[in-house]
Amino acid sequence: MTGPIEISLLDLFGVASMLLINAGLSLALKLGLGRKLLLTSLRTFGQLTLLGYVLLPIFETRRPWLVGLLALVMTAIAAREATGRSSRRFKGVWAGNFVAIFVSSLVTAVLGSAVFIGVEPWWAPQYFIPLLGMILGNSLTGVTLGLDSTLTQLDEQRTHIEWRLAMGATWWEAARPVVRRATSAGMIPILNTMSVVGLVSIPGMMTGQLLGGTSPEQAARYQILILFLIAAATALGCVMAVLWATRRLFDDAHRLRMERLFKTKR
């Protein structure tokens, strides 16, 4: 079997016409999304095209430091994105998100590449970068949702938490319900995905491999592997971010320090 049919730039302009549906709806219902639609479409085009050009030399030269640099940049962008999406912030949130995403994604991506797939060398960019990218995207979601749930709960249920503290609870005893709910909030999307995958949706990676000519059986196995890696990374990243945020908003005297939390303007 040969590779997939090539897509030209002209083809892309053609498919951009599909976005007219969004534009038409925005206009008809006065959603005011025109500007945002144009900008995000351009971002998609620009970012992915750029990625193509960035990946080319990395794939060809196969230098470990280049792979490492790209991995670092990707993680930093993910952490920034996770911070930016939250409606509330505290000092140290960026660092916490970075560590949570970095550790969870890197550990699972390295394990996946080196141990489970058995790539030689484990950092071979053709495997490692797409693997890391997929894991990062999902860990980012877990971190964002978990963090947002934590901060919202702490903010809105302050009286609940302080009541428990006043009854003699340690900070951890008082915060446990918050942590529990936030962690499950962060993990629900990936669990939902895993429960309908193959029935309702064929995930992007499997689609790609099928288009590339991989046998459906192998493509399915790759997809299962990646989903399990993603699930682990999401859980790990989410729990780390949630625990960090919770710990930062209590002090050593088991007091809830809400003045450390501030709302962002968005």
Partner: protein, 221 residues
């Protein structure tokens, strides 16, 4: 761990604070405030609304940061020698508004009596206590959201008493109760102080204050 229960000893000082201060922004609510609560005492905090009565109770429960110059002792031992949860289980603060927990009072009580600070102590049954104030036993298994303000207040007060603290910090504990029920709750508070407990409370009911309080302390700059 220190034994939580204590034998009653009349007018022995339980809680003592020297140099309490509270600022909100640049405004000073109070400063240089000293107070003590002895066993058997029921001290009423008086002062205009906004004078800082609630802030004072929160400081004593160590829910808000204290100025380093403040000296706080319980049973003669300085605050830092107690762990904070130990302190709060003995100097127990009951906020004016009981939060609407997602579960029922029975669930809340189960979570409370299993806190690490209570170890494997057998605490009193708050449902039995609150029954004396007309709170039906069946209410304990209903969600907090279905309870009236007065019912919540009684359930919360009963749980606080059941924890057997040394000092109770009460912020308008009977504000949502009718006169008769408030009297019954007052009687239980009196039992508590006569058994060697100390009470520091805020109440806007002057008649109640003069009935139950042993003395008064003014808050305000």
């Amino acid at each position: 761990m220190v034994e939580r229960r204590r034998s009653k000893a009349g007018d022995e000082v339980l809680l003592e604070a020297v140099g309490l201060a509270k600022k909100v922004g640049r405004r000073t609510l109070f400063e240089g405030l000293n107070l003590s609560v002895a066993a058997g005492e029921c001290v009423r905090l008086s002062g205009a609304s906004g004078a800082g009565k609630t802030s004072l109770l929160r400081l004593l429960a160590r829910l808000d940061p204290l100025e380093p110059s403040v000296s706080l002792t319980l049973d003669g031992k300085p605050a830092p020698s107690w762990t904070v949860p130990e302190w709060r289980s003995r100097v127990l603060y009951v906020a004016q508004t009981v939060p609407t927990f997602p579960d029922s009072p029975a669930d809340t009580w189960r979570a409370t009596r299993t806190l690490a600070v209570y170890g494997d102590e057998v605490l009193r049954d708050p449902a039995e206590l609150a029954q004396q104030w007309g709170l039906g036993l069946s209410l304990w298994s209903q969600p907090w959201s279905e309870l009236s303000g007065g019912e919540r207040q009684r359930a919360a007060l009963a749980m606080a008493l059941a924890c057997e603290p040394w000092v109770l910090l009460l912020d308008e504990p009977t504000s949502a109760l009718d006169a008769e029920t408030a009297l019954a709750a007052e009687a239980s508070l009196l039992d508590f102080s006569q058994a060697g407990g100390g009470i520091l409370w805020v109440t806007h009911d002057d008649a109640q204050a003069s009935r139950a309080s042993t003395r008064q302390l003014a808050v305000g700059a």
